[in-house]
């Protein structure tokens, strides 16, 4: 067998077939690349099996492609796995990045705001009303992110043996975690702007700028990830 696309044992028909599967497969690039590589290997095995059974090269390739079926059906079959992979990746990224960004904000707040420094050391203190309410809202957003993120991890890994969940729940949990992260980061940025505008607090500029940049980046990434997860959930619901 000779072939194009730099693969000496992969005929052009198989490359075209896999290009169709790839075009219909959503989700993280690494997951898609792995799936397509495995399908390519399977198609070559199937072709060789048909060659060994006595078919000619062209018929063997056609028989292998026929055995694997419509590229759209193959892509649909992998939708649940791709959605789980995307949801898990989003949830894990949010759960890891959250505490890192949170620490930057905490360091900024403790350096600039004596009341927060005192509250953090468990000394009785009263925060300005607006700041206190803002921090409570951040805590709610963080709790939503952490809970939804943990659920997203739980329903896409080994716990599925004991915790069966409908496939559409994983991207939904990851999307909720994404919206929670957007809320937490947006509130963090809002509180910083309010502090600068109202109290003219003495902020450690480098620390505050780093925290703000990290939150802005996380906000944008969380928004994109949440939208992707919702799109995958919609595809799963439509494919039911």
């Amino acid at each position: 067998m000779t072939g194009a696309a730099g693969h000496p044992r992969c005929p052009q028909e198989i490359d075209r077939y896999l290009a169709e599967v790839t075009a219909r497969l959503p989700g993280p690039r690494k997951t898609r690349t792995g799936i397509v590589a495995e399908l390519r290997s399977g198609l070559i095995d199937a072709t060789e099996s048909h060659l060994a059974a006595g078919l000619g090269p062209a018929q063997a390739v056609q028989a292998a492609l026929g055995e694997f079926g419509d590229p759209g059906l193959i892509a649909d079959g992998f939708l649940t796995e791709v959605a789980a992979s995307q949801a898990r990746q989003v949830a894990a990224t949010l759960l890891v990045s959250g505490p890192l960004v949170g620490l930057l904000w905490l360091a900024t707040a403790m350096t600039s705001h004596p009341a927060i420094r005192m509250a953090a050391s468990w000394r009785l203190t009263t925060l300005p009303a607006g700041l206190g309410a803002g921090i409570e809202l951040v805590a709610v957003a963080v709790a939503v992110t952490a809970t939804a993120g943990a659920l997203g991890i739980a329903v896409t890994g080994r716990l599925t043996r004991w915790l069966p969940a409908a496939p559409r729940h994983a991207p939904l949990a990851a999307a909720i975690a994404g919206f929670g992260a957007m809320g937490a980061d947006g509130l963090g940025l809002g509180l910083l702007a309010a502090e600068l505008a109202v109290t003219q607090a003495r902020l450690p500029l480098l620390l505050a700028a780093t925290a703000a940049a990290a939150s802005a980046a996380r906000l944008l990434l969380a928004r994109r990830a949440a939208c992707r997860c919702l799109a995958l959930r919609a595809s799963l619901v439509a494919a039911r």
């Binding site: 290997s41 095995d45 199937a46 694997f68 193959i74 796995e81 890994g157 599925t160 043996r161």
Partner: protein
């Protein structure tokens, strides 16, 4: 036999096919055809995603291996997969015994004297 007929049992069947040793995706599909006497010929779009789902659940482990100039993704049972297979077998034995008993023709009632 269609995929819908095997619904609920595909995971156990795939685990059973891997009981004898590691296999790659296409070899699993061939084993399915051979061991079912040609009665089961599932679409590829069902088998490969099911293998990925089993991997995600930790019931099989998958690794890329290189042999004869070819790269293949090879699946093998994990200890949790072996345990799950035993559970599946027990459940199936109980289920099939009950259904067989229910489907068996009832003995003719003794005619009243």
């Amino acid at each position: 036999m269609r995929a819908e007929t095997l619904k609920g049992h595909l995971d156990g069947i795939l685990l059973a096919l891997l009981e004898q040793g590691p296999l790659h995706g296409y070899a699993i599909m061939e084993a399915l055809r051979v061991r079912s006497g040609g009665h089961v010929d599932l679409p590829t779009g069902t088998v490969y995603p099911a293998l990925h789902r089993l991997e995600r659940a930790g019931l099989v482990a998958a690794n890329w291996s290189q042999a004869g100039g070819r790269r293949r993704r090879v699946y093998q049972l994990t200890p949790a997969g072996k345990h799950s297979l035993e559970t599946e077998r027990g459940t199936w034995r109980d289920f099939s015994a009950v259904v067989s008993a229910l489907l068996r023709p009832a003995p003719l009632a003794a005619s009243p004297s």
